[in-house]
């Protein structure tokens, strides 16, 4: 229970369905400590897991009449999510911490914790669905019913065992129905705005966050696609493939980051057309059914959360890798982001773009 409307309604729906529900909120990041005015040199980042969010989660649990606990996962969050976030940026990639948080915390540490309390499932407020195919005995991960809110992209690492313990009570609803229901049952968070940013670092703050967490501001060259030096930068962690703003270059045509070479500390920029790729490879692939599909399987693939899915063919490779070949070139394929492959409503699998 994050204190937001989705997980609050998820809990409410489970209570209404007659489940025995325990509310858990994860303390992931000590906002108070990081922003303590008494400790000079520290500052607060992010928007989630604040004292106010925990207050909201407690009030919802009290309204629903369920027990509520805050579990401290600061250490696990730091080890699995923050450290990966920092090292990925340092390596010139663009990480998605939410995927690690879901796969390595909520549906790993939290599931294990919940099991210790005698719970059979972990339910979250994600807009996604899990279906058991009773013939094959396998679980399918499907898109949330609300296409504008679908969060299946962030859940692609879940394996069959994790899916068997997962419930997504709002996955069948659209957001407005969720808010209507929250209003109807008088939840105090019914009008709370959606969160859009990475929970532990607010938009525009990530450079400062990374530097606070030990990323050095090592300067390097900005080159164009021919290799000519066109400018300087203050560290590769400030850039993302596809980025246009903040390059500090003057050019008659808009320039985009097309490549980041952390080893050489080089950022390469080019016109929009140079961002286009017809294929990509990804590693650390998870196939939802536990095995790779046949080579040539047709999918629609998404290369970032807000990407419009594109038709593609899949070629599974050894060592949990995959090659995805698009029918049409795709712009801004950013290493570190995930490619998630769909067959209609179902998630086929996903991996980390190389």
């Amino acid at each position: 229970m994050s204190g937001g409307v989705d997980s609050s309604v998820a809990a409410a729906l489970l209570v209404r369905q007659g489940h025995e529900v325990i509310g858990l909120s994860m303390q992931l990041y000590d906002q108070a400590r990081s922003g303590n005015p008494g400790d000079p040199g520290t500052r607060a980042f992010g928007t989630c897991c604040t004292i106010d969010d925990l207050h909201d989660a407690r009030r919802v649990a009290a309204t629903l009449g369920i027990p509520h606990y805050i579990v401290n996962f600061e250490r696990e969050f730091n080890d699995t999510v923050i450290s990966n976030f920092v090292s990925e940026y340092a390596a010139g990639r663009t990480p998605i911490p939410c995927v690690h948080c879901n796969g390595d915390l909520k549906f790993a540490t939290l599931v294990s914790r919940a099991e210790g309390l005698g719970a059979d499932f972990v339910a979250t407020g994600h807009y996604a669905r899990v279906d058991l195919d009773s013939d094959s005995g396998t679980y399918a991960l499907k898109r949330g019913a609300d296409p504008a809110k679908d969060q299946s992209y962030f859940l692609f690492t879940l394996n069959q065992l994790q899916l068997s313990h997962a419930m997504f009570p709002v996955g069948d609803l659209d957001k407005s129905t969720v808010r209507d229901y929250a209003r109807e049952i008088g939840l105090s968070v019914a009008e709370k705005p959606d969160s859009h940013e990475i929970c532990f670092v607010a938009s525009g703050e990530h450079t400062a966050f990374l530097e606070e967490h030990g990323t050095p501001s090592t300067a390097g060259a900005i080159r164009d696609v021919t290799g000519k030096v066109v400018g300087r930068h203050e560290g590769v962690h400030r850039f993302t493939v596809g980025q246009r703003k903040g390059l500090g270059l003057s050019s008659p045509i808009p320039l985009y980051v097309v490549n980041i070479d952390a080893g050489q500390r080089t950022v390469t920029v080019g016109p929009r057309a140079s961002l286009e790729r017809i294929d990509l490879t990804a590693s650390g692939v998870n196939w939802i059914l536990g095995h790779a599909p046949a080579p040539g399987t047709r999918v629609t693939a998404r290369i970032r959360h807000q990407h419009r899915e594109a038709s593609a063919s899949v070629e599974p490779l050894p060592d949990e890798r995959v090659r995805v070949t698009f029918d049409e070139p795709q712009s801004a394929v950013a290493p570190g982001q995930a490619v998630v492959m769909y067959d209609g409503e179902r998630v086929v699998g996903g991996g980390w773009i190389e």
Partner: protein
């Protein structure tokens, strides 16, 4: 394991205690019948003043003090702040700018010392060993001719150990320093006699002995130099400004009377309950150990570590079975941090995070101890079977 507890067992009396029905009556009577301002000269003021006087006598009598030495406060934290900041400021002109406390004090003392340290006072924290008892030799070594005050708690809130207060106070006085004790956890559990202990200041809090929250007292030995921290009107003999919380103080007074009356019988009863609880847990749950020495200890408290367990999980699992216990100290958001007390005792880091405090009180029964002892082994076994195991294959 059922998730909705049918019966509730409260083993967390060191956090707070239920308010005795007699105390509730006294508070209600003062709230509805004695609304006057105790500083007023007229009838209504006199009625309120009479309530304060009764309470002052009851509190004084509980600790063998004089009524005029009792200053009512908002609770233990204010009393600790008052004692340390008040003495630090009063003795500042004398050049005594050194403050000593033990490393296992409550945050009300530790954080106040830290605040004074930032403003130029020198501070020393006395370390303790795994016994959880402050060694007089450590104090003797730390004392200087600049020491203004020594503050060592009477009984520790987390492990219950009783500190050698009389001896420590004697050492402090030998170097001309004042001695304060935070007696929040000992009042109502063991006899407290300020003169026999040789103290100068003592903090107490009503809600730890079946009184209401938000009220306590600081005992200041007659003649001790303490500057007011809460400044304003001439309330409390010009020592603590602010209109007195008459209903709360009425409750404190009655709670003090009840504590004095029940002290000897309750302490024997609770010690027997606690000892059985402790012995049966140690016997039935493998990988358990008591933190701190077992004697001298307040009769109601035990602090036990469980190997390969996260205290947080054990606490939640017990609560879902209806059993309220506690661990470490809670931070602002309500999550758990490793106990600073167990850390100060030099316990290895797993033990500072796998320990549970159970603190008994009025109303706890043999049947409740039986229930907890019957539930614990299975809960611990289940949690241990999951330790370190992740669902991800």
């Amino acid at each position: 394991m059922g998730m909705i507890a049918v019966m509730r067992i409260y083993f967390d009396h060191n956090a707070t205690t239920p308010v005795d029905p007699t105390v509730v009556e006294a508070i209600a009577r003062a709230l509805s019948g004695t609304f006057g301002n105790a500083s007023s000269v007229h009838h209504f003021g006199q009625q309120a003043k009479a309530v304060l006087d009764d309470a002052r006598s009851a509190v004084a009598s509980l600790i063998s003090a004089e009524p005029s030495e009792i200053v009512f406060t908002s609770g233990g934290t204010e009393s600790d702040n008052f004692a340390l900041r008040g003495v630090a400021e009063a003795l500042e002109p004398t050049g005594r700018r050194h403050l000593i406390a033990s490393s296992i004090e409550h945050e009300a003392v530790l954080v106040t010392l830290r605040a004074l340290a930032r403003r130029g006072w020198r501070t020393t924290l006395l370390s303790v060993d795994q016994s959880g008892i402050v060694k007089p030799e450590a104090l003797a070594e730390a004392l200087t001719d600049e020491t203004a005050i020594v503050s060592v708690m009477h009984a520790n809130n987390e492990i219950g150990t009783i500190q050698p207060i009389a001896e420590l106070a004697r050492l402090a006085h030998g170097r001309g320093a004042l001695f304060h004790t935070d007696a929040v956890q000992s009042i109502g559990k063991i006899p407290v006699d300020v003169r026999a202990l040789g103290l100068d200041l003592l903090s107490l809090s009503a809600h730890k002995f079946n009184g209401p929250k938000g009220v306590g007292a600081l005992w200041i030995k007659r003649g001790a130099r303490v500057t007011s921290v809460m400044t304003g009107g001439k309330h409390e003999r010009n020592r603590r400004a602010g209109t007195e919380n008459v209903p709360g103080i009425a409750g404190l007074g009655v709670a003090a009377q009840l504590a004095a009356k029940k002290l000897s019988s309750e302490s024997v009863r609770l010690a027997a309950l606690r000892n059985r609880l402790e012995a049966e847990i140690l016997q039935k749950v493998p990988g358990t150990a008591v933190n701190g020495v077992r004697e001298p200890r307040v009769p109601n408290t035990t602090n036990i570590s469980f190997d390969a367990i996260e205290a947080e999980s054990l606490l939640i699992a017990l609560d879902l079975e209806g059993v309220a216990v506690s661990t470490g100290s809670a931070c602002s958001s309500g999550t758990l941090e490793p106990s600073h007390v167990l850390r100060a005792m030099g316990l290895p880091s797993p033990r500072t995070q796998n320990s549970i405090r159970m603190s008994l009180g009025a109303g706890n029964t043999d049947a409740e101890v039986d229930f907890v002892v019957s539930k614990l082994p299975a809960i611990v076994e289940k949690l241990r079977s999951l330790t370190g195991t992740r669902v991800r294959a």
